[in-house]
Symmetry: C3
Subunit: 121 residues, 3 copies
């Protein structure tokens, strides 16, 4: 906890995924919501098969899901969501000829049934 | 919003993924539940590593997750789920020698912490 | 139902994914919570793009999500989570030089809008 997922349509060819993940993790560290930077586990997946709507125009999207242990306030979730979206906007600029949507969703992880083990190096 | 995910075991070799996604998006547009066709963001991922149950028989599955902003009625969710399953059944016919399961799940996105930006072409 | 997802960072090079999935499915069958072994649908995805925290140390993780139809007790969910984590720990031993985190999360599937079709072989 937290777990962060980025999905992006693979026509976002200019995206520097490693830099994006590092910047997103820095935002989460700086939020002060998580005890240890080590806890932040992020991944990104490029989508080869995708379809936005039904029109023929070239379209793209990136979607972040942030899953955190249940119990945080709506206000904290809104702030986390907005901060992550800011990074997405900076890393994925508008592109002529491509309609782009950027989204962030925050989910609760059921705290009661979450199990974890740490195997230090 | 909405976000649609298709996962399918890669032994469904005949599946036309692009056609499937387009048909699923048409169903969502036609449901009248979503304001703009542009809002529908769908993706499909083929699963190279999968296991159905514990027996040795060849098995396959496809699973749709439809994530929509919270607040829709159980009846609307049931109808969306049933409509998507109909498309899956048409696009993935029964195959001799392969046991196939097709499933549709509807999830709520927390409306309060959902963030989005649109960068038009 | 149930659906099990394993995500793992691809620097866990020694992981035998097929054996892991089979063992996880056996644990679920043996839990007595699911009527038919055929119902258990598991998949694993290797993550090529991932980032744990912000430090430079080599790190890895594996994360299981078990999605089950809503209605099971917290105690049953805790037991399922703990049993799956035991398998992860056995299949992913500690590795000198790599900091590893193993996690298990249990999610509810909305029973009311879940649709399913079975096409027997």
């Amino acid at each position: 906890m937290p777990h962060l997922h980025v999905e992006y349509s693979e026509n976002l060819r200019e995206l520097d995924v490693d830099r994006l993940l590092l910047r997103l993790n820095h935002v989460l560290v700086c939020s002060g919501q998580f005890a240890d930077e080590l806890d932040i586990k992020s991944r990104a997946v490029a989508l080869a098969s995708f379809r936005v709507g039904t029109a023929l125009q070239e379209r793209a999207f990136a979607h972040i899901k942030l899953a955190i242990l249940s119990g945080r306030s709506p206000e904290v979730k809104r702030q986390l969501s907005a901060s992550l979206l800011e990074v997405l906007k900076e890393e994925i600029p508008g592109t002529p000829g491509v309609d782009i949507q950027l989204c962030v969703e925050v989910l609760d992880i059921d705290r009661d049934s979450y199990s974890k083990t740490h195997l230090p190096a």
